[in-house]
Symmetry: C2
Subunit: 155 residues, 2 copies
DNA sequence: TATTGTTATACTCTATAACTATA
DNA sequence: TATAGTTATAGAGTATAACAATA
C-alpha cells in the first residue's frame, strides 16, 4: 500500500527528470524540424490543444507562468509569423492570440513528436494496459492538479 | 486506442506543468520547513533515495545535468552542513558525497511532502487502482526512459 | 479603482569551455 | 592521454515591479 505510493512517486520523479532535461527538448525540435525554445513550443502546442484563440492571460494561467513571460514569447512568435495578435472585440485592453496556418502546422509537428515517444514506449503494451494507463493518468492529473490549485486559492 | 494515447499524453503534460512551476517548489520547502532551491532538494533527495554515498559524476548522471551544476550546489550544501565530501578511497580524483544527519533529516522531510501530495490525491482511490497506477507508472517510466536513453547513445 | 498587457530588471537553473589534479 | 571534479562564464527560463491603457 505505502509501497505502491513510494514506487508511484519514484517512477513519476524519474519521468519528470527525463522529460525536463535540455537534451530532450533539443531532440524534440530536431525531430520536428523546427528551431524553437521550450516556452515557444509550450505556447504553440497550448494554442493548438485549445483549438481556438486565447488571451495572453489565459495562456499564462494555463501554462502556470507569469504574463510577462508569455508576452515576450508571443512577440517573438508573431515576428516569425507563427501566430497573430488580434484585438479582443469585447475588451479593448486584451488580445486574442491566433495561430497562423504555419504556426498550427509547426505546433502539430511538435505535439506529434511527444505523442510518438509515448507511442513507442507503449508499443508492446496490451490494449487493456494502455487503456488503464490512460484512465489512471487522467484521474491522477485531475486529482493532483485540483488539490494543488485548491491550496493555492486558500493561501 | 489512439484516443487513449492522446489523453495519456495530455494528462501527463498537465502533471508536469503543475509539478514544475515555481510556486510548487515554494510550497514544498515551506511545508518541509526549509530554505533550499530546487537543485539543492533534488540532490539531497537523490542521496537519500540512494541510501549510500555517491560521487559528483554519478549524481549528475542520475539527475541528468552537467557536473559543474552539481559541484556548485554540493559546495553550498556542504557549507550549510547538510552533506560532507569525503575523498574516494579508491580514486584520488573523486569524492564521495555523504549526507550528514541533519541533511538526511531535511531530505526526508522534503521527500515526505511530495509523497503526501500524492497520498492526498489518491486518498479516495480504491486499493486496486492505486496498485494499478503504481504498476503502470513504473512500467511507463522504465519503457520511456529506456527509449530516451537508447536514442541518446545511438546518436 | 481594478484589470490587461507591456517594459525593464533581476534571479534561478543549467550548459559549455577552459582548467587542475590524479589515473 | 583520459578521467573526476572545479572555476568561470554565458544562456535559457521565469518572476517581480513599475507602468500604460482600457474597463
Amino acid at each position: 500500500m505505502d509501497e505502491d505510493l513510494n514506487s508511484t512517486v519514484a517512477a513519476f520523479r524519474r519521468l519528470v527528470t527525463t522529460i525536463n532535461r535540455g537534451k530532450t527538448h533539443e531532440r524534440l525540435t530536431e525531430a520536428a524540424g523546427v528551431r524553437l525554445d521550450r516556452p515557444d513550443v509550450q505556447i504553440l502546442v497550448h494554442l493548438l490543444d485549445a483549438g481556438e484563440p486565447r488571451r495572453i492571460g489565459v495562456i499564462a494561467e494555463n501554462l502556470q507562468v507569469e504574463s510577462p513571460h508569455v508576452t515576450r514569447h508571443v512577440a517573438a512568435l508573431e515576428q516569425r509569423g507563427l501566430l497573430e495578435r488580434v484585438r479582443d472585440p469585447d475588451d479593448g485592453r486584451a488580445w486574442q492570440i491566433v495561430l497562423t496556418e504555419e504556426g498550427a502546422e509547426v505546433a502539430s509537428r511538435c505535439r506529434r513528436v511527444t505523442t510518438e515517444w509515448f507511442e513507442g514506449a507503449l508499443a508492446d503494451w496490451s490494449a487493456a494496459d494502455r487503456a488503464e494507463l490512460s484512465r489512471l493518468m487522467s484521474k491522477l492529473s485531475d486529482d493532483l492538479c485540483e488539490r494543488m490549485r485548491a491550496r493555492l486559492v486558500i493561501k
